[in-house]
Protein backbone atom coordinates (compact mmCIF):
# COMPACT_ATOMS: atom_id res chain seq x y z
CA UNK A 1 0.00 0.00 0.00
CA UNK A 2 3.02 2.24 0.18
CA UNK A 3 4.46 4.25 -2.70
CA UNK A 4 8.16 4.58 -3.42
CA UNK A 5 9.50 8.10 -3.56
CA UNK A 6 13.00 9.20 -4.45
CA UNK A 7 14.61 12.26 -2.91
CA UNK A 8 17.52 14.15 -4.40
CA UNK A 9 19.88 16.58 -2.68
CA UNK A 10 20.21 19.74 -4.77
CA UNK A 11 22.69 22.48 -4.10
CA UNK A 12 21.46 26.00 -4.64
CA UNK A 13 23.17 26.70 -7.92
CA UNK A 14 21.74 27.36 -11.31
CA UNK A 15 21.09 24.48 -13.64
CA UNK A 16 21.03 21.65 -11.10
CA UNK A 17 17.28 21.13 -11.21
CA UNK A 18 17.32 21.17 -15.01
CA UNK A 19 20.04 18.55 -14.93
CA UNK A 20 17.83 16.21 -12.93
CA UNK A 21 14.90 16.59 -15.34
CA UNK A 22 17.18 16.20 -18.35
CA UNK A 23 18.89 13.03 -17.10
CA UNK A 24 15.60 11.45 -16.09
CA UNK A 25 14.00 12.41 -19.39
CA UNK A 26 16.87 10.95 -21.41
CA UNK A 27 16.57 7.71 -19.44
CA UNK A 28 12.87 7.52 -20.31
CA UNK A 29 11.65 8.14 -16.78
CA UNK A 30 8.31 9.88 -16.39
CA UNK A 31 7.66 12.05 -13.36
CA UNK A 32 4.21 11.55 -11.80
CA UNK A 33 4.40 13.94 -8.87
CA UNK A 34 6.98 16.19 -7.27
CA UNK A 35 7.68 18.55 -4.45
CA UNK A 36 10.70 20.74 -3.79
CA UNK A 37 11.64 21.76 -0.27
CA UNK A 38 14.10 24.61 -0.24
CA UNK A 39 16.35 26.20 2.35
CA UNK A 40 18.79 29.05 1.83
CA UNK A 41 21.60 26.67 0.86
CA UNK A 42 20.09 23.56 -0.61
CA UNK A 43 16.90 21.95 -1.76
CA UNK A 44 15.44 18.48 -1.46
CA UNK A 45 13.56 17.36 -4.53
CA UNK A 46 11.08 14.54 -3.97
CA UNK A 47 9.75 12.64 -6.93
CA UNK A 48 7.33 9.87 -7.65
CA UNK A 49 8.24 8.35 -10.98
CA UNK A 50 7.15 5.43 -13.11
CA UNK A 51 10.54 3.66 -12.93
CA UNK A 52 11.97 4.25 -9.47
CA UNK A 53 15.03 2.00 -9.68
CA UNK A 54 16.07 3.28 -13.11
CA UNK A 55 15.65 6.87 -11.91
CA UNK A 56 17.76 6.24 -8.83
CA UNK A 57 20.50 4.51 -10.80
CA UNK A 58 20.57 7.23 -13.47
CA UNK A 59 20.89 10.03 -10.93
CA UNK A 60 23.53 8.23 -8.89
CA UNK A 61 25.59 7.73 -12.02
CA UNK A 62 25.46 11.47 -12.47
CA UNK A 63 26.81 12.07 -8.96
CA UNK A 64 23.56 13.04 -7.28
CA UNK A 65 22.83 11.92 -3.74
CA UNK A 66 19.59 9.98 -3.92
CA UNK A 67 17.56 8.18 -1.30
CA UNK A 68 14.44 6.08 -1.54
CA UNK A 69 11.65 6.46 1.01
CA UNK A 70 8.13 5.14 1.33
CA UNK A 71 5.21 7.52 1.28
CA UNK A 72 1.45 7.02 1.37
CA UNK A 73 -0.87 8.21 -1.42
CA UNK A 74 -4.48 8.89 -0.49
CA UNK A 75 -7.32 9.68 -2.84
CA UNK A 76 -9.77 12.41 -1.80
CA UNK A 77 -12.69 14.05 -3.57
CA UNK A 78 -11.53 17.25 -5.27
CA UNK A 79 -13.88 19.62 -3.45
CA UNK A 80 -13.83 22.05 -0.49
CA UNK A 81 -12.99 20.32 2.81
CA UNK A 82 -11.64 17.28 0.91
CA UNK A 83 -8.16 17.66 2.40
CA UNK A 84 -9.50 18.72 5.73
CA UNK A 85 -11.51 15.53 6.17
CA UNK A 86 -8.31 13.48 5.93
CA UNK A 87 -6.28 15.68 8.22
CA UNK A 88 -9.01 15.47 10.81
CA UNK A 89 -8.96 11.68 10.66
CA UNK A 90 -5.17 11.58 10.95
CA UNK A 91 -5.23 14.01 13.82
CA UNK A 92 -7.90 11.94 15.56
CA UNK A 93 -5.74 8.83 15.11
CA UNK A 94 -2.68 10.57 16.61
CA UNK A 95 -0.72 10.32 13.34
CA UNK A 96 2.09 12.77 12.73
CA UNK A 97 2.67 14.18 9.20
CA UNK A 98 6.29 14.99 8.29
CA UNK A 99 5.36 16.66 5.00
CA UNK A 100 2.83 16.35 2.20
CA UNK A 101 2.07 17.46 -1.33
CA UNK A 102 -0.81 16.93 -3.73
CA UNK A 103 -1.85 16.64 -7.35
CA UNK A 104 -5.15 16.38 -9.16
CA UNK A 105 -6.14 13.36 -11.21
CA UNK A 106 -6.57 13.74 -14.95
CA UNK A 107 -10.31 13.18 -14.82
CA UNK A 108 -10.52 16.03 -12.34
CA UNK A 109 -12.84 14.34 -9.87
CA UNK A 110 -10.30 13.34 -7.29
CA UNK A 111 -7.08 14.68 -5.86
CA UNK A 112 -4.20 12.57 -4.64
CA UNK A 113 -2.32 13.59 -1.53
CA UNK A 114 1.13 12.21 -0.88
CA UNK A 115 2.03 11.95 2.80
CA UNK A 116 5.31 11.27 4.49
CA UNK A 117 4.63 9.81 7.95
CA UNK A 118 7.11 8.75 10.56
CA UNK A 119 4.91 5.66 11.06
CA UNK A 120 3.42 4.79 7.64
CA UNK A 121 1.91 1.43 8.76
CA UNK A 122 0.02 3.04 11.61
CA UNK A 123 -1.17 5.85 9.35
CA UNK A 124 -2.43 3.43 6.70
CA UNK A 125 -4.37 1.52 9.34
CA UNK A 126 -6.09 4.70 10.54
CA UNK A 127 -6.89 5.78 6.98
CA UNK A 128 -8.29 2.42 5.91
CA UNK A 129 -10.32 2.04 9.09
CA UNK A 130 -11.95 5.36 8.25
CA UNK A 131 -12.88 4.22 4.77
CA UNK A 132 -10.33 6.20 2.77
CA UNK A 133 -8.72 4.92 -0.43
CA UNK A 134 -4.98 4.35 -0.08
CA UNK A 135 -3.39 3.96 -3.52
CA UNK A 136 -0.67 1.55 -4.59
CA UNK A 137 2.43 2.81 -6.38
CA UNK A 138 1.19 1.15 -9.52
CA UNK A 139 -2.09 3.06 -9.40
CA UNK A 140 -0.30 6.38 -8.88
CA UNK A 141 1.89 5.73 -11.91
CA UNK A 142 -1.03 4.78 -14.14
CA UNK A 143 -2.94 7.98 -13.43
Amino acid sequence: MKVEQISIFIENKSGRLAEVSQKLGQAGVNIRALSLADTSDFGILRLIVDKTDLAKKTLKENNFTVSKTEVVAVEVPDRPLGLHSILEILDGGGVNVEYMYAFVERCGENAVIIFRFDDPEGAIRVLVENGLTVLTGERVCRM
Binding site: Q5, S7, F9, I10, E11, R16, A37, T39, D41, F42, I44, R46, N63, F64, T65, V66, S67, T69, E98, Y99, R116
Partner: protein
Protein backbone atom coordinates in the same frame (compact mmCIF):
# COMPACT_ATOMS: atom_id res chain seq x y z
CA UNK B 1 62.94 -4.20 9.86
CA UNK B 2 65.98 -2.10 10.72
CA UNK B 3 67.70 -1.36 7.39
CA UNK B 4 70.93 0.05 8.75
CA UNK B 5 71.48 -1.56 12.12
CA UNK B 6 74.75 0.24 12.82
CA UNK B 7 73.48 3.79 12.34
CA UNK B 8 69.83 3.46 13.33
CA UNK B 9 70.70 2.16 16.81
CA UNK B 10 73.78 4.31 17.58
CA UNK B 11 74.04 5.19 21.27
CA UNK B 12 73.17 8.81 22.11
CA UNK B 13 76.80 9.87 22.79
CA UNK B 14 77.91 8.45 19.45
CA UNK B 15 75.08 10.26 17.63
CA UNK B 16 76.03 13.54 19.23
CA UNK B 17 79.73 13.11 18.52
CA UNK B 18 78.94 12.38 14.88
CA UNK B 19 76.56 15.35 14.71
CA UNK B 20 79.18 17.74 16.07
CA UNK B 21 81.80 16.56 13.59
CA UNK B 22 79.41 16.74 10.63
CA UNK B 23 77.88 20.06 11.69
CA UNK B 24 81.33 21.69 11.87
CA UNK B 25 82.13 20.48 8.39
CA UNK B 26 78.77 21.75 7.05
CA UNK B 27 79.20 25.20 8.62
CA UNK B 28 82.67 25.48 7.12
CA UNK B 29 81.39 24.39 3.75
CA UNK B 30 78.53 26.91 3.54
CA UNK B 31 80.68 29.71 4.94
CA UNK B 32 83.26 29.11 2.25
CA UNK B 33 80.93 28.57 -0.70
CA UNK B 34 77.61 30.38 -0.18
CA UNK B 35 77.71 34.22 -0.02
CA UNK B 36 74.27 34.26 1.61
CA UNK B 37 75.49 32.29 4.63
CA UNK B 38 78.72 34.26 4.95
CA UNK B 39 76.70 37.49 5.07
CA UNK B 40 74.05 36.01 7.35
CA UNK B 41 76.68 34.72 9.81
CA UNK B 42 78.51 38.04 9.70
CA UNK B 43 75.35 39.93 10.62
CA UNK B 44 74.77 37.56 13.54
CA UNK B 45 78.42 37.95 14.61
CA UNK B 46 79.34 34.27 14.26
CA UNK B 47 81.83 32.23 12.26
CA UNK B 48 82.05 28.43 11.97
CA UNK B 49 84.74 28.53 14.71
CA UNK B 50 82.08 29.72 17.16
CA UNK B 51 80.74 26.17 17.28
CA UNK B 52 82.40 24.28 20.13
CA UNK B 53 79.46 22.11 21.17
CA UNK B 54 76.07 21.22 19.71
CA UNK B 55 74.51 23.78 22.06
CA UNK B 56 76.30 26.53 20.17
CA UNK B 57 74.11 25.87 17.12
CA UNK B 58 71.48 28.19 18.61
CA UNK B 59 73.86 31.14 18.12
CA UNK B 60 73.58 30.75 14.34
CA UNK B 61 70.87 32.57 12.37
CA UNK B 62 67.81 30.90 10.87
CA UNK B 63 67.27 30.24 7.18
CA UNK B 64 63.79 30.99 5.85
CA UNK B 65 61.84 29.93 2.80
CA UNK B 66 62.04 33.56 1.71
CA UNK B 67 65.84 33.29 1.67
CA UNK B 68 65.49 30.52 -0.91
CA UNK B 69 63.22 32.71 -3.03
CA UNK B 70 65.59 35.66 -2.72
CA UNK B 71 68.43 33.46 -3.96
CA UNK B 72 66.42 31.87 -6.77
CA UNK B 73 67.35 29.65 -8.46
CA UNK B 74 70.87 28.47 -7.51
CA UNK B 75 72.06 31.08 -5.01
CA UNK B 76 72.11 28.73 -1.99
CA UNK B 77 73.87 25.85 -3.74
CA UNK B 78 77.10 24.90 -2.00
CA UNK B 79 78.36 22.80 -4.90
CA UNK B 80 79.10 23.94 -8.48
CA UNK B 81 76.49 22.94 -11.06
CA UNK B 82 78.82 20.36 -12.61
CA UNK B 83 78.49 18.38 -9.38
CA UNK B 84 74.72 18.70 -9.18
CA UNK B 85 73.04 15.66 -10.73
CA UNK B 86 69.41 16.41 -9.90
CA UNK B 87 67.27 19.51 -9.46
CA UNK B 88 63.83 19.57 -7.81
CA UNK B 89 61.54 22.48 -7.00
CA UNK B 90 58.56 23.12 -4.78
CA UNK B 91 55.16 23.80 -6.29
CA UNK B 92 55.52 27.52 -5.59
CA UNK B 93 51.84 28.38 -5.26
CA UNK B 94 52.87 31.84 -4.16
CA UNK B 95 55.71 33.48 -6.05
CA UNK B 96 58.72 31.66 -7.45
CA UNK B 97 59.30 28.01 -6.59
CA UNK B 98 62.06 27.05 -4.20
CA UNK B 99 64.82 25.15 -5.97
CA UNK B 100 67.01 22.42 -4.54
CA UNK B 101 70.02 20.59 -6.03
CA UNK B 102 71.49 17.20 -5.18
CA UNK B 103 75.01 15.91 -5.72
CA UNK B 104 75.50 12.26 -6.51
CA UNK B 105 76.25 11.62 -2.85
CA UNK B 106 73.08 13.48 -1.81
CA UNK B 107 71.04 11.19 -4.06
CA UNK B 108 72.70 8.18 -2.43
CA UNK B 109 72.02 9.55 1.07
CA UNK B 110 68.41 10.19 0.14
CA UNK B 111 67.96 6.64 -1.17
CA UNK B 112 69.56 5.30 2.03
CA UNK B 113 67.22 7.33 4.26
CA UNK B 114 64.17 6.36 2.21
CA UNK B 115 65.24 2.69 2.39
CA UNK B 116 65.51 3.06 6.19
CA UNK B 117 62.07 4.67 6.18
CA UNK B 118 60.53 1.84 4.16
CA UNK B 119 62.15 -0.62 6.56
CA UNK B 120 60.73 1.23 9.57
CA UNK B 121 57.26 1.07 7.97
CA UNK B 122 57.61 -2.71 7.70
CA UNK B 123 58.40 -2.92 3.97
CA UNK B 124 61.12 -5.22 2.67
CA UNK B 125 62.66 -6.92 -0.32
CA UNK B 126 59.91 -8.86 -2.11
CA UNK B 127 57.32 -6.14 -1.56
CA UNK B 128 55.60 -4.58 -4.56
CA UNK B 129 55.66 -0.84 -3.88
CA UNK B 130 52.92 1.09 -5.63
CA UNK B 131 54.35 4.60 -5.74
CA UNK B 132 51.56 7.08 -6.43
CA UNK B 133 53.48 10.18 -5.37
CA UNK B 134 53.87 12.53 -8.31
CA UNK B 135 57.03 12.13 -10.38
CA UNK B 136 58.54 15.37 -11.57
CA UNK B 137 59.74 18.55 -9.92
CA UNK B 138 57.98 17.39 -6.73
CA UNK B 139 60.38 15.31 -4.62
CA UNK B 140 57.79 12.70 -3.55
CA UNK B 141 57.81 10.39 -6.57
CA UNK B 142 61.52 10.07 -7.28
CA UNK B 143 62.46 10.19 -3.60
CA UNK B 144 60.31 7.18 -2.74
CA UNK B 145 61.33 5.47 -5.98
CA UNK B 146 65.08 5.47 -5.31
CA UNK B 147 64.53 4.34 -1.72
CA UNK B 148 62.31 1.47 -2.84
CA UNK B 149 64.95 0.30 -5.32
CA UNK B 150 67.67 0.58 -2.69
CA UNK B 151 65.51 -1.53 -0.38
CA UNK B 152 65.36 -4.17 -3.10
CA UNK B 153 61.58 -4.05 -3.46
CA UNK B 154 59.79 -4.06 -6.81
CA UNK B 155 58.68 -0.49 -7.41
CA UNK B 156 55.82 0.48 -9.71
CA UNK B 157 56.38 4.09 -10.79
CA UNK B 158 52.67 5.00 -10.98
CA UNK B 159 52.92 8.71 -10.23
CA UNK B 160 49.66 10.55 -9.48
CA UNK B 161 46.39 10.60 -11.42
CA UNK B 162 44.68 8.12 -13.72
CA UNK B 163 42.88 6.59 -10.80
CA UNK B 164 41.10 3.80 -12.69
CA UNK B 165 44.42 2.51 -13.98
CA UNK B 166 45.93 2.75 -10.50
CA UNK B 167 43.17 0.47 -9.21
CA UNK B 168 43.59 -2.03 -12.04
CA UNK B 169 47.35 -2.20 -11.55
CA UNK B 170 47.07 -2.44 -7.79
CA UNK B 171 44.81 -5.43 -8.26
CA UNK B 172 46.65 -7.14 -11.15
CA UNK B 173 50.24 -6.50 -10.03
CA UNK B 174 49.55 -7.44 -6.41
CA UNK B 175 50.79 -4.18 -4.85
CA UNK B 176 51.64 -4.69 -1.17
CA UNK B 177 52.82 -1.20 -0.20
CA UNK B 178 51.16 2.06 -1.21
CA UNK B 179 52.91 5.43 -1.14
CA UNK B 180 50.85 8.58 -1.75
CA UNK B 181 49.20 11.46 0.07
CA UNK B 182 46.69 10.42 2.75
CA UNK B 183 43.82 12.14 0.94
CA UNK B 184 44.64 10.32 -2.28
CA UNK B 185 44.49 6.95 -0.51
CA UNK B 186 40.90 7.68 0.53
CA UNK B 187 40.14 8.87 -2.98
CA UNK B 188 41.50 5.57 -4.33
CA UNK B 189 39.33 3.59 -1.90
CA UNK B 190 36.28 5.56 -2.93
CA UNK B 191 37.02 5.19 -6.65
CA UNK B 192 37.65 1.45 -6.22
CA UNK B 193 34.28 1.03 -4.51
CA UNK B 194 32.62 2.78 -7.44
CA UNK B 195 34.28 0.33 -9.79
CA UNK B 196 32.77 -2.42 -7.69
CA UNK B 197 36.17 -3.48 -6.37
CA UNK B 198 36.73 -4.02 -2.66
CA UNK B 199 40.15 -2.52 -2.03
CA UNK B 200 40.25 -4.28 1.35
CA UNK B 201 40.54 -7.58 -0.49
CA UNK B 202 43.71 -6.70 -2.42
CA UNK B 203 47.21 -7.49 -1.19
CA UNK B 204 48.01 -4.03 0.23
CA UNK B 205 49.51 -4.33 3.70
CA UNK B 206 51.09 -0.97 4.45
CA UNK B 207 50.56 2.59 3.28
CA UNK B 208 53.18 5.29 3.70
CA UNK B 209 51.52 8.68 3.64
CA UNK B 210 52.86 12.19 3.78
CA UNK B 211 53.17 15.57 2.06
CA UNK B 212 50.08 16.95 3.81
CA UNK B 213 48.90 17.09 7.42
CA UNK B 214 46.47 14.35 8.53
CA UNK B 215 44.85 13.52 11.82
CA UNK B 216 44.66 10.33 13.91
CA UNK B 217 40.99 10.07 12.92
CA UNK B 218 41.93 10.02 9.24
CA UNK B 219 44.54 7.38 10.01
CA UNK B 220 41.87 5.16 11.55
CA UNK B 221 39.61 5.74 8.58
CA UNK B 222 42.36 4.85 6.08
CA UNK B 223 43.32 1.74 8.07
CA UNK B 224 39.69 0.65 8.13
CA UNK B 225 38.83 1.45 4.51
CA UNK B 226 41.98 -0.02 2.98
CA UNK B 227 42.65 -2.71 5.59
CA UNK B 228 46.29 -1.65 5.98
CA UNK B 229 48.71 -0.15 8.47
CA UNK B 230 48.94 3.58 7.75
CA UNK B 231 52.38 5.05 8.46
CA UNK B 232 53.17 8.75 8.63
CA UNK B 233 56.28 9.93 6.79
CA UNK B 234 57.83 13.37 7.05
CA UNK B 235 59.87 15.29 4.58
CA UNK B 236 60.24 18.58 2.81
CA UNK B 237 62.16 19.39 -0.33
CA UNK B 238 64.17 22.16 1.33
CA UNK B 239 65.72 19.58 3.68
CA UNK B 240 65.76 16.48 1.45
CA UNK B 241 62.32 15.38 0.29
CA UNK B 242 60.44 12.40 1.75
CA UNK B 243 62.43 10.35 4.25
CA UNK B 244 63.55 13.00 6.75
CA UNK B 245 61.56 11.13 9.38
CA UNK B 246 59.10 8.26 9.65
CA UNK B 247 57.01 6.36 12.18
CA UNK B 248 58.08 2.84 13.00
CA UNK B 249 55.41 0.23 12.49
CA UNK B 250 56.08 -1.14 15.99
CA UNK B 251 55.00 2.00 17.86
CA UNK B 252 53.20 4.20 15.29
CA UNK B 253 53.88 6.91 17.80
CA UNK B 254 56.10 9.74 16.66
CA UNK B 255 58.39 9.96 13.64
CA UNK B 256 62.06 9.03 14.01
CA UNK B 257 64.16 11.77 12.44
CA UNK B 258 67.48 10.47 11.09
CA UNK B 259 69.81 12.26 13.45
CA UNK B 260 73.03 11.15 11.79
CA UNK B 261 71.94 13.44 8.90
CA UNK B 262 69.77 16.10 10.51
CA UNK B 263 69.71 18.10 13.73
CA UNK B 264 66.19 18.99 14.87
CA UNK B 265 65.46 21.88 17.22
CA UNK B 266 62.15 23.18 18.56
CA UNK B 267 61.80 26.94 18.85
CA UNK B 268 59.19 29.40 19.96
CA UNK B 269 57.87 30.66 16.59
CA UNK B 270 57.38 34.16 17.98
CA UNK B 271 60.66 34.76 19.79
CA UNK B 272 62.95 32.33 17.95
CA UNK B 273 64.24 30.99 21.30
CA UNK B 274 64.97 27.27 21.64
CA UNK B 275 62.24 25.64 23.74
CA UNK B 276 62.93 23.43 26.78
CA UNK B 277 63.06 19.69 25.94
CA UNK B 278 59.64 18.15 25.18
CA UNK B 279 57.86 21.48 24.62
CA UNK B 280 55.64 22.18 21.61
CA UNK B 281 56.97 24.63 19.06
CA UNK B 282 58.21 25.12 15.51
CA UNK B 283 60.56 22.52 14.08
CA UNK B 284 63.90 23.83 12.85
CA UNK B 285 66.22 21.47 10.94
CA UNK B 286 69.90 21.68 10.11
CA UNK B 287 71.26 19.28 7.51
CA UNK B 288 74.72 17.92 8.34
CA UNK B 289 75.59 15.73 5.36
CA UNK B 290 74.04 17.50 2.40
CA UNK B 291 76.40 18.85 -0.22
CA UNK B 292 74.17 20.37 -2.93
CA UNK B 293 72.15 22.71 -0.76
CA UNK B 294 72.89 22.41 2.96
CA UNK B 295 70.40 24.13 5.25
CA UNK B 296 71.41 25.80 8.47
CA UNK B 297 68.59 26.12 11.00
CA UNK B 298 65.82 25.99 8.41
CA UNK B 299 62.45 27.06 9.80
CA UNK B 300 60.01 24.39 8.65
CA UNK B 301 56.84 26.12 9.99
CA UNK B 302 55.73 22.68 11.21
CA UNK B 303 54.48 22.56 14.79
CA UNK B 304 55.60 19.55 16.85
CA UNK B 305 57.62 18.45 19.87
CA UNK B 306 60.58 16.10 20.31
CA UNK B 307 60.08 12.76 22.03
CA UNK B 308 63.41 11.58 23.43
CA UNK B 309 62.18 8.55 25.42
CA UNK B 310 63.54 5.24 24.06
CA UNK B 311 61.31 3.61 21.44
CA UNK B 312 60.14 -0.02 21.48
CA UNK B 313 61.55 -0.55 17.98
CA UNK B 314 65.14 -0.18 19.21
CA UNK B 315 65.99 2.87 17.10
CA UNK B 316 67.82 5.50 19.11
CA UNK B 317 66.93 8.48 16.93
CA UNK B 318 64.65 11.05 18.53
CA UNK B 319 61.01 11.17 17.44
CA UNK B 320 58.91 14.09 16.23
CA UNK B 321 55.39 14.03 17.57
CA UNK B 322 52.85 13.86 14.72
CA UNK B 323 52.46 17.37 13.35
CA UNK B 324 49.60 19.32 14.86
CA UNK B 325 49.69 21.49 11.78
CA UNK B 326 51.86 24.01 10.03
CA UNK B 327 52.15 27.48 11.37
CA UNK B 328 51.53 28.41 7.68
CA UNK B 329 48.23 26.49 7.64
CA UNK B 330 47.10 27.98 10.88
CA UNK B 331 44.24 30.38 10.35
CA UNK B 332 43.56 33.20 12.72
CA UNK B 333 39.83 33.72 12.75
CA UNK B 334 38.56 36.52 14.97
CA UNK B 335 41.73 36.14 16.98
CA UNK B 336 41.39 32.38 17.46
CA UNK B 337 44.01 29.98 16.12
CA UNK B 338 42.36 27.37 13.92
CA UNK B 339 44.07 24.43 12.24
CA UNK B 340 42.14 22.77 9.39
CA UNK B 341 43.00 19.42 11.01
CA UNK B 342 40.86 20.39 14.03
CA UNK B 343 37.81 20.89 11.83
CA UNK B 344 38.57 17.56 10.20
CA UNK B 345 38.66 15.82 13.58
CA UNK B 346 35.17 17.17 14.35
CA UNK B 347 33.76 15.96 11.04
CA UNK B 348 35.09 12.42 11.17
CA UNK B 349 33.60 11.93 14.61
CA UNK B 350 30.07 12.48 13.32
CA UNK B 351 28.49 9.27 12.12
CA UNK B 352 28.32 9.04 8.33
CA UNK B 353 30.11 12.32 7.61
CA UNK B 354 33.10 11.99 5.33
CA UNK B 355 36.14 14.18 5.74
CA UNK B 356 35.65 15.92 2.42
CA UNK B 357 35.51 19.53 3.44
CA UNK B 358 36.72 22.97 2.56
CA UNK B 359 37.05 26.06 4.68
CA UNK B 360 36.19 29.42 3.21
CA UNK B 361 37.41 32.35 5.22
CA UNK B 362 36.06 35.77 4.41
CA UNK B 363 35.42 39.13 5.96
CA UNK B 364 32.13 40.95 6.40
CA UNK B 365 31.89 44.34 8.13
CA UNK B 366 35.47 43.96 9.37
CA UNK B 367 34.68 40.63 11.01
CA UNK B 368 36.21 37.34 9.90
CA UNK B 369 33.74 34.75 8.70
CA UNK B 370 34.27 31.01 8.46
CA UNK B 371 32.19 28.86 6.21
CA UNK B 372 32.67 25.10 6.25
CA UNK B 373 31.61 23.18 3.16
CA UNK B 374 30.70 19.58 3.93
CA UNK B 375 29.72 17.03 1.34
CA UNK B 376 26.43 15.22 1.77
CA UNK B 377 26.46 11.49 1.08
CA UNK B 378 23.91 8.70 1.15
CA UNK B 379 24.47 8.09 4.83
CA UNK B 380 23.82 11.68 5.87
CA UNK B 381 21.16 12.58 3.31
CA UNK B 382 17.52 12.56 4.34
CA UNK B 383 14.35 13.50 2.48
CA UNK B 384 13.38 15.57 5.51
CA UNK B 385 14.67 19.14 5.73
CA UNK B 386 14.73 19.08 9.52
CA UNK B 387 17.11 16.12 9.59
CA UNK B 388 19.52 17.93 7.28
CA UNK B 389 19.29 21.08 9.36
CA UNK B 390 19.99 19.07 12.51
CA UNK B 391 23.15 17.79 10.85
CA UNK B 392 24.30 21.34 10.07
CA UNK B 393 23.47 22.48 13.57
CA UNK B 394 25.36 19.61 15.13
CA UNK B 395 28.51 20.25 13.08
CA UNK B 396 28.34 23.95 13.85
CA UNK B 397 27.92 23.28 17.55
CA UNK B 398 30.79 20.80 17.76
CA UNK B 399 33.13 23.19 15.97
CA UNK B 400 32.04 25.96 18.31
CA UNK B 401 32.60 23.71 21.34
CA UNK B 402 36.08 22.71 20.21
CA UNK B 403 37.40 25.97 18.81
CA UNK B 404 35.15 28.65 20.21
CA UNK B 405 34.54 29.92 16.69
CA UNK B 406 31.09 30.35 15.19
CA UNK B 407 30.89 29.20 11.63
CA UNK B 408 28.36 28.64 8.91
CA UNK B 409 27.91 25.13 7.55
CA UNK B 410 27.07 24.70 3.91
CA UNK B 411 26.03 21.23 2.83
CA UNK B 412 27.14 20.58 -0.73
CA UNK B 413 26.67 17.83 -3.28
CA UNK B 414 28.99 14.83 -3.23
CA UNK B 415 32.24 15.22 -5.18
CA UNK B 416 31.71 18.95 -5.54
CA UNK B 417 34.80 19.68 -3.45
CA UNK B 418 37.86 19.11 -5.61
CA UNK B 419 39.51 15.79 -4.75
CA UNK B 420 43.20 15.97 -4.44
CA UNK B 421 45.43 13.82 -6.50
CA UNK B 422 48.30 15.73 -4.96
CA UNK B 423 47.81 17.99 -1.98
CA UNK B 424 44.30 18.85 -0.86
CA UNK B 425 43.23 22.46 -0.99
CA UNK B 426 41.43 22.69 2.31
CA UNK B 427 41.38 26.42 2.78
CA UNK B 428 40.28 29.30 0.62
CA UNK B 429 41.12 32.56 2.32
CA UNK B 430 39.26 35.40 0.66
CA UNK B 431 40.13 38.05 3.20
CA UNK B 432 41.68 41.19 1.74
CA UNK B 433 45.38 41.44 2.56
Amino acid sequence: MIWNDEFETLPREAIEALQLKRLKRTLERVYATVPFYRENFRQAGVTPEALKSLDDLRRFPFTLKQDMRDNYPYGLFAAPLDQIVRIHASSGTTGKPTVVGYTRRDIETWAELMARSFGAAGAHRGDVIHNAYGYGLFTGGLGAHYGAEKLGASVIPMSGGNTKKQIMIMQDFGSTVLTCTPSYSLYLAEAAAEEGFDIRQCKLRVGIFGAEPWSEEIRREIEEKLNIKAIDIYGLSEILGPGVGIECVEAQNGLHIWEDHFIPEIIDPDTGEVMPPGELGELVITTITKEGIPMIRYRTRDITRLISEPCVCGRTHVRLERMSGRSDDMLIIRGVNVFPSQIESVLVKIEGVEPHYQLIVGREDNLDTLEVLVEVNEKTFSDEVKVMQELSTRIRKEIKDLLGVTCKIRLVEPKSIARSEGKAQRVIDQRPR
